[in-house]
């Protein structure tokens, strides 16, 4: 099976793939916890959230494949694209680290995803609107789960607070990319397909500030400057993730599994 290099995609398709890639990569990261979480309840919760993300990714890839034509399937997008053609935000590919890193990454992302899905429920792309409606319900739980842990760990012990400080310092720089607009996104917004991140950022900020406030952790005052994922310029971590994920499809191309 050859690598799928996607050139000249429409803004609409690019937008769907950016959304789907966020979901798949974050779901993949969370799935790495299965069997290794700090308590059995979290093994189950993190697997559950991972399943929500992977489920959303599948719905989005299937929709993209229908628009795309050429007989592509959801698996072609997931298993045949290389690093430079993945369009997820850098935040979601950051490694799990300790539980504090996983929770901070999840809150930064879920606090963005919830208002995003809410906005997309009125997208002119009715399939996307239907996916958003389902995902919005799931995202409410994701925000609550990550938010509760954010407060517990920030307020808990000296050690948990120190770990949260370190996780925030490491991941905050990746938050800003979620709200960037480029020409592709601007065109998708113009077409009524995509949601405008400028309208989402204040809602994200409300959720994040409330969590920082309740946890007693200091809110960083610098902006997040790490960027590149939306145009396929990733951190070094994504290549390893894809090598692992795509291993069987690459080793035994073109088979049914």
């Amino acid at each position: 099976m050859t690598t799928l290099a996607l050139k000249g995609l429409s803004p609409h398709l690019t937008y769907l793939l950016r959304l789907a890639d966020d979901q798949l990569i974050l779901g993949h990261r969370l799935s790495e916890w299965a069997g290794h979480a700090p308590m059995l309840e979290e093994d189950i919760a993190l697997a559950n959230i991972a399943l929500d993300h992977i489920g959303a990714a599948r719905a989005l890839y299937q929709h993209a494949a229908t628009l795309h034509g050429d007989g592509l399937t959801e698996d072609d997008y997931a298993y045949r694209r290389d690093t430079r053609d993945y369009l997820n935000a850098l935040l979601v590919e950051r490694p799990n680290g300790d539980f504090a890193h996983t929770i901070v990454r999840q809150l930064l992302y879920s606090a963005f995803a919830l208002p995003l899905w809410q906005a997309l429920m009125t997208s002119s792309d009715t399939t996307l609107a239907a996916i958003a409606e389902k995902s919005e319900k799931e995202a409410r739980y994701h925000v609550r789960h990550a938010g509760d842990w954010f407060v517990r760990l920030g307020d808990g012990t000296g050690e948990s607070k120190a770990r949260m400080d370190a996780a925030i310092a490491a991941l905050w720089p990746y938050g800003g990319e979620l709200f960037e607009t480029d020409a592709t996104l601007a065109a998708a917004i113009e077409a009524g397909v995509a949601a405008d991140p400028a309208a989402i950022e204040p809602l994200w900020r409300d959720t994040i500030e409330a969590a920082f406030d309740e946890s007693g952790l200091p809110l960083p005052d610098r902006p997040g400057r790490q960027t590149g994922g939306r145009s396929g310029r990733h951190t070094e971590h994504l290549g390893f993730l894809l090598a692992e994920m795509q291993h069987l499809q690459r080793a035994y191309p073109g088979q049914r599994w």
């Binding site: 069997g35 700090p38 189950i44 959801e74 307020d155 599994w257």
Partner: protein, 329 residues
Amino acid sequence: MYTQALNNLDLAPDGTDPREARFMARIDAEERIEPNDFMPEAYRKTLVRQIAQHAHSEIIGMLPEGNWITRAPTLRRKAALLAKVQDEGGHGLYLYCAAETLGKSREAMMDELVDGRAKYSSIFNYPTLTWADIGMIGWLVDGAAIMNQIPLCRCSYGPYARAMIRICKEESFHQRQGYEQIMTLAAGSPEQKAMAQDALDRWWWPSIMMFGPSDSESVHSEKSMAWKIKRFTNDELRQKFIDATVPQAHRIGLTIPDPDLRLDEETGHWQIGPIDWEEFKRVLSGDGPCNADRIAARKAAQENGAWVREAALAHAEKRKARAAEPIAA
């Protein structure tokens, strides 16, 4: 002690505890024993040991399967495997709760697991080397587990029996999913079919051994049968599994790795060759290929998660203290 004196007073003239006779009468009448009912200490101990072993098997079982979540070959398979591993975590949770109704804490059980005092199903001490191993665990390992577990839905201890009803429904779904996965490989390319056969070669005998030693060798069987914790002997269950599984393998063109396998026309049962009990003992006693890795992974999860559990407790305490503070004027 007062309670002891009271117990002594309860003894019948022949020195036996009349509650034991009532307990056995209830068992014989197929009544369910509930957590607050009287039960002999040996019954309680047997149940705690068995339920804890079962719970440990579920959470250790998450490891060899979890191994392949990130490498599942399609998104559909990835989601199904992740859901299966999540189900196993859920089974572990109900079972630890069922054992807790008998007075042993989950923490104590977890400690016994990581320091090697508690046992779990030996099957999970074998490695998952290829994708076919994931299908094989569903088809054979979950298939064998169901044979053991369906009669447990009628176990005399209520909380365990009720937990088993839900667990069996999910396990039987996993078994069908595993068989479908192997069927797909067996019908695939020559490489895929070879992958499925190789996995069957490696998992068949360990699955057969999952039913435990032969009836003549089994330490716990007799008492458990009398107490209706157990309803069938190890050998009876093993034979049921073999009879169900051999035709399934033949149907998809796979070969059972046993040169002595033959159908006994008279009884209608499949007869297998001799089981290598030395291997069973070796793996059970800690020298299987993955025993050390499995325990190390559980230990790491427990140790790496300690600060999280401490923080959650500390936060809960602080919240309680804050709620109790008088509101400043």
